[in-house]
Amino acid sequence: MKDVAIVSFAQRQEAQISNESEVEMMIPLMEQAKEAVGLSQRDMGFTCSGSSDFLAGQAFSFVMTIDGTGPVPPISESHVEQDGAWALYEAWVKLQCEDIDTAFVYSYGKSSPGSLRDVLATQMDPYYVAPLWPDAYAIEGLAARMLLDSGKVSEQQLAEIASRSRLNAATNPHAVRNEKKSVEEILAEPYLADPLRPSDIGAIADGGAAMVLATGDRARSLCERPVWIRGIDHRSDAHTLGVRDLTSAMSATIAAEKSGVGADRIDLAELAAPFTTSEAVLTEALGLGDGVSVNPSGGALAANTMMAAGLIRFGEIFERIARGDGDRGVAHATSGRCLQQNLVAVLEGE
């Protein structure tokens, strides 16, 4: 396998970006990520993006957004209807098999035009579940109750996760929810989707991210401390909630094994956990021990940007390792309800 590294990253997340079209939102990020390493679109061996039509209520929204890359002359390009972490995965695969040494990845999502907790009902089984329009928070509430009933985690521990996210987010300019709150204050919040409190639920955000990948010596020539993708894997679980164990994440566990999470010490991890319960499940599923700094950015609880939350986790790890805040980290992305689909990567500085 070729060594592939992240060499630059740009992100933007806000509670609502209502003044800009998606391409207007993305151009500055695309420019910033490329300029950071002195590359233009023509230097990119491959480009891949991720987005969803359903979020913004527009078919083919990615067809407008591609203009932001400057695809004249034409570019070697693809798009996934998934979080940008899967676009990164596709680009990583391309870098493995093509005679290219750079790739450009971006993804974005604006949830604010619609109601995310309702829109996500259209992701459920179209015959048995979607016609009931269960909202996404209530669905996660089912998993949360099972987790609490199992004794694996307590409401106190969930509140601790929420409180830590807020604390960490206080220093993250991209966080949407960054006011500090104590565990007691969080436990005093009324339930929003019993047994989930407002602080248990990721703050929905609009935004996007852009990233440049490069291989081997090219990566070393582009930035001082490239952050290498040492392992990357993704897996799905069953869609049907009733047929899987909602207190664990089998697919995340497999992806963690395949990507080599357990092979060496992990300093930090960024998990695209949209709920405190997801973070609790993932921490166990990935085998992250006590010494690991989990979600130093505040994670997806502090800003949950659909279709980009996973790619942003890669970026958060990249920025920290690049500046020396740790050597080996884990980035995670998810899709579907209750951690159905999970992508895990091990990132490492030299």
Partner: protein, 386 residues
């Protein structure tokens, strides 16, 4: 270490129809996937990963449906990806799946592309309402017909070339049991006399709206060598995209089309495209796109593509460059699947498995898809020999 050689060892398609009322969404995909597994002599447990493609989710009203389809596609505990590159998606999906094997990330991959258009209405899904404006053209035909008019003006092609293409593809479809349209009694005169929908495009020169799925099993060199049955070796894959609106853009032969073709033919070591390619499956949703793509892809000189059509060179019966022996998009159009059907039909030709629409002795075949405002392109070349 170059790319891992990649082989197509299984192809499966559904019967294409305006409504596949006998199956669920999952059942539609399974029909194609199971057939692909069967011809590959594989079971679900042999599959390392699934790469799925389809066009906009608004067609069926299910957001990111790969999530709901995980059980049906045997993906519990396995990776599944979802590609979406507009109309070219079926081809792009196959390219992405091939890269999974070429990179040695996986050994054996199932790739599948589909659409169940009967669940909604393509015109609705493709042109959702937008505030502050109003529609001034009707669907894809409204968008592409002016481009075809430009081609007709620049090439001085006889007016009925498009009808020749449509009639030829419908005749080809009669030899393909999976094709949606089986118009046994259709005559050339009926094509010519069919109503103008988007002048210069007649009703019979447009594609139908279909339900359907197409799947392939791809595997590595060892798997291809070991396969007890016909194999198609992938000798080139390429994708190119460009903006759909910039000054001086060549809409008739987009730069992305030409560059994608140059790339894929170079990978396959093909110099004389017309002479070295034995069968072509290209994305022709409107009749005139056959001569237009023949030129853009370098099978004919600029302005001369229509002459290949007129001479019968692109017909299965007697032509030296049969185009769309399966009947093409003009005979079956499950949008998200249409690109993969082209790729799969190209594979069937070099595997010698195309049945009644087999091109005799086909050794090298070309699969093609395009999408968006003729701005997304995916192509591959498959060969009988490694």
């Amino acid at each position: 270490m170059g790319k891992e050689r990649t082989a197509v060892i299984g192809v499966g398609q559904t019967k294409y129809a305006s409504t596949r009322g006998d199956v669920s969404m999952a059942g539609l995909l399974r029909e194609a996937a199971q057939r692909a597994l069967d011809t590959a002599h594989k079971t679900w447990s042999d599959i390392d990963a699934v790469v799925m493609g389809k066009a906009p989710d608004f067609f069926e009203g299910v957001m990111m449906p790969e999530i709901y389809l995980a059980e049906a596609l045997g993906c519990v505990g396995k990776p599944i990806m979802r590609v979406h590159t507009a109309g070219s998606v079926g081809g792009s999906t196959a390219c992405v799946a091939a890269s999974m094997v070429q990179s040695r990330v996986h050994s054996t991959v199932l790739t599948i592309a589909w659409e169940k258009q009967s669940e909604s209405n393509a015109m609705w899904a493709l042109s959702l309402p937008q505030p502050f404006t109003t529609s001034v053209n009707a669907g894809a035909g409204g968008y592409f017909s002016p481009i075809m008019r430009r081609y007709m003006a620049m090439s001085d092609a006889p007016e009925l070339i498009g009808c020749l293409v449509a009639f030829k593809d419908r005749q080809h479809a009669l030899k393909n049991p999976y094709a949606h349209l089986h118009q046994h009694d259709l005559t050339f005169e009926q094509v010519v006399e069919s109503p103008m929908l988007w002048d210069p495009i007649r009703y019979s020169e447009t594609c139908p709206s279909s339900d359907g799925a197409c799947a392939m099993v791809l595997t590595d060199e060892a798997g291809g060598d070991a396969h007890d049955g016909p194999v198609a070796w992938v000798s080139g894959t390429a994708m190119r995209s460009e903006s759909n609106s910039y000054g001086g853009r060549n809409m008739v032969s987009p730069a992305a089309s030409e560059q994608c073709a140059d790339d894929v033919f170079a990978q396959a070591g093909i110099h004389d495209r017309r002479a070295e390619i034995d069968a072509v499956e290209m994305y022709v949703p409107f009749s005139w796109y056959e001569p237009m793509w023949l030129e853009s892809l370098g099978f004919a000189d600029k302005g001369k593509g229509w002459q290949l059509v007129e001479s019968g060179a692109t017909a299965l019966d007697g032509g030296d460059l049969p185009v769309n022996p399966s009947g093409g998009v003009l005979s079956s159009n499950a949008i998200g699947a249409s690109g993969m059907i082209r790729f799969a039909e190209a594979a069937l030709q070099v595997m010698g498995e195309a049945g009644e629409h087999q091109v005799d002795g086909a050794r090298t075949a070309f699969g093609h898809a395009y999408g968006g405002g003729a701005q997304y392109f995916a192509m591959w070349i498959v060969a009988k020999d490694k």
